[in-house]
């Protein structure tokens, strides 16, 4: 190897990019060439000096967001390839699909229903008036998660209450109308979400009935939330599979709701079901009410103890349990090892959410703060205040930067009514699903 060639290759030699034979040739040249040796040493010295520049360490904060994003993408990928269907897609995505579909369907029905109600009003005012004039805040039953604005979210305890026949001195006109509405629903279900549709068909009628007026008012807003339905429909088949296999969920209120909704479907005329309690709080007075203030006191107290380091924090990221379940759980335990505050990160293909749950001294869930974002950029803040018996005192939802059909009445299955302990931090305890 001549001098020029060797000289050219000193850089490659320094960085170990030469083949063994080439390296040997350059070394052979170096042995007899002081000029090249000097250059080699200069390179080595400069490198050695610069290697002493300690690496910058990136802040840890961003890492979790990236991992959450990767988990979501990985889930989507598995869904697409059909390799396996994550259970939690059902938890978040399916809920939102359902919500979107229910929203879309009820809207159509509400449109028709509103006309009917008006006709009814003209025809028989004395009979239809009570329903038609029922204030939105009293509309007693939201049979399932429904996309709506805060005003509508504020129906206290709405999610758990069965469809309320109390308000059903409502139009008998519902019966003649029913076939038409059914046809509409059928058309709807055939298109976007085969799996979700049956449930939807059962859910819609009471909604249409009791909430006709309330919904009609927000029709415009809800329309904004409807579009994700077809897009999200891809996730629906998973519901079919997973809903069946979902392991013993203690409070299957979702199903209970469906059941009662079914029994109260129009046409049966059955007034079955308990009479709904009146919501104790109203949009006007909930904020300063003693019940809400009591909850706020508990939350403030728990947070104060968290900040003061008085609660034993234990956390567990759940990568080892598989990416389908809660990503992380954190418990701030008070005396007795039960959570005073319980924080979970969860997510699906479309949304990443953090649940912060607060418990009183008796281990009863009193406040839930759900926050997070959807893939379309919408940001969610959802708050639920509960009384000591676990009834929802109030519930409100705030969306920023766009809309996304998060359930306005948050499904009960996402809430841990009793303070969990360290047992939920282990694998195989149904992480991510209850």
């Amino acid at each position: 190897m001549n001098h020029q060639d060797a000289r050219e290759k000193l850089l490659d030699l320094a960085y170990g990019e030469l083949s063994r034979r080439e390296a040997a040739e350059v070394e052979a040249h170096l042995a007899g060439c002081p000029e090249c040796r000097a250059e080699r040493d200069r390179i080595a010295a400069t490198r050695a000096a610069m290697r002493r520049l300690e690496p910058e360490v990136p802040p840890a904060a961003g890492e979790r967001i990236l991992l959450a994003a990767a988990r979501q993408a990985a889930d989507r990928q598995r869904e697409r390839s059909g390799v396996l269907v994550p259970r939690w897609v059902w938890r978040v995505s399916f809920t939102t699909v359902l919500v979107a579909v229910v929203g879309a369907v009820t809207l159509q029905i509400v449109g028709m229903r509103e006309r009917t109600v008006r006709e009814e009003l003209r025809g028989a005012p004395e009979r239809a008036a009570p329903t038609a004039e029922a204030p939105a805040a009293q509309a007693p039953a939201l049979p399932g998660p429904v996309p709506a604005r805060p005003e509508e979210a504020k129906l206290a305890k709405s999610a758990e209450r069965p469809a309320a026949p109390a308000r059903k001195e409502a139009p008998p006109a519902a019966a003649p109308e029913a076939p038409q509405a059914m046809a509409k629903r059928d058309g709807e279900k055939a298109r976007p979400a085969p799996a979700a549709a049956p449930a939807v068909a059962e859910q819609a009628p009471p909604a249409e009935r009791s909430l006709a007026q309330a919904r009609a008012k927000v029709a415009d807003q809800a329309v904004g939330a409807a579009p994700p339905a077809p897009a999200a429909a891809g996730a629906a088949p998973s519901a079919d599979v997973t809903a069946g296999e979902s392991p013993a969920r203690p409070a299957a209120k979702g199903e209970a709701k469906l059941g009662s909704a079914e029994s109260a479907a129009p046409g049966t005329g059955s007034p079955a079901g308990p009479v709904a309690k009146e919501p104790r709080l109203t949009a006007r007075d909930w904020k300063g009410s003693p019940e809400i203030e009591a909850v706020r006191g508990i939350v403030r107290d728990v947070d104060r103890r968290v900040r003061a380091g008085k609660l034993q924090m234990s956390a567990r990221p759940f990568q080892a349990c598989g990416p389908l379940e809660d990503a992380e759980r954190r418990i701030y335990a008070g005396s007795g090892g039960r959570a005073a505050k319980f924080v979970r990160q969860a997510g699906g293909a479309e949304a990443a959410l953090t649940f912060e749950e607060y418990y009183d001294d008796a281990g009863r869930l009193r406040y839930v703060f759900i926050h997070g974002g959807a893939v379309n950029g919408a940001l969610l803040e959802h708050r639920i205040w509960l009384d000591p018996e676990g009834n929802r005192l109030w519930e409100e939802q705030k969306l920023r930067r766009g809309s996304y059909p998060f359930p306005a009445a948050w499904p009960e299955r996402d809430l841990w009514l009793a303070a969990p302990g360290a047992e939920v931090l282990g694998c195989g305890n149904g992480a991510g699903i209850r």
Binding site: A45, M50, R51, I65, L66, L67, A70, Q77, R78
Partner: protein
């Protein structure tokens, strides 16, 4: 977690829906990419933003990554493109930030003042604390295209051929930039009196 699994293999697993493979990639390359961004932008805040953007892009663009391509080439191309775009936008905004020192101690203060020469017990860390601003200054003094090549080779460990792919110039150009970079650094370090001690360290 297997740590010796190749980047490409991990990436293929991530494409198949395995999020833990991404995590392995992130652990392996997040630091080096951050260093690349800090050294090229000379601004930690911007580097942090770009770091997030880079990895989010890796997530979203993963399905389009081709198994033939080396992962690091792809990764650093993303980081570099984002960085270049950002710099262009900043320039359009007329932002002065490009000129603002990333590390005031390292870049704009008279360099020798930063060195506490009467430090009684220059242990290893104190010595490196003294050295650090000078090394940073030397690196910062390089023209951008030379600094970029040097950082990619020296700190990120990319071979010249990959650097050529990332920066979009022929490999020979990359190598000549590298030579200029090393020469420039040596001169700068000499001016600051770093070379002697560095050479000592390098001596066998």
């Amino acid at each position: 977690m297997q740590t010796d699994e190749s980047d490409e293999r991990l990436m293929a697993r991530f494409q198949g829906g395995d999020a833990s493979a991404f995590e392995a990639l992130l652990h392996r390359h997040r630091g080096p990419v951050y260093n690349f961004l800090v050294r090229t932008t000379r601004d930690r805040g911007r580097a942090e933003d770009l770091l997030q953007e880079t990895w989010l892009k890796v997530v979203t663009a993963a399905p389009r990554w081709e198994k033939r391509a080396r992962f690091t080439t792809w990764l650093y191309t993303i980081a570099r493109n984002l960085s270049v775009d950002e710099a262009r936008r900043a320039a359009l905004r007329g932002a002065e930030r490009l000129e603002a020192p990333a590390d005031p101690a390292g870049e704009r203060r008279p360099l020798l003042e930063t060195v506490a020469s009467d430090d009684p017990l220059p242990d290893r860390s104190a010595e490196s604390a003294m050295l650090r601003p000078r090394l940073q200054a030397a690196l910062a003094s390089l023209p951008e295209e030379q600094r970029e090549v040097f950082v990619l080779r020296e700190y990120a460990g990319l071979p010249f051929q990959e650097i050529a792919a990332v920066t979009g110039v022929p490999e020979n150009t990359v190598k000549s930039r590298m030579r200029y970079a090393l020469d420039g650094l040596r001169r700068r370090l000499e001016e600051m009196g770093v070379t002697a001690e560095a050479a000592e360290v390098a001596a066998p």
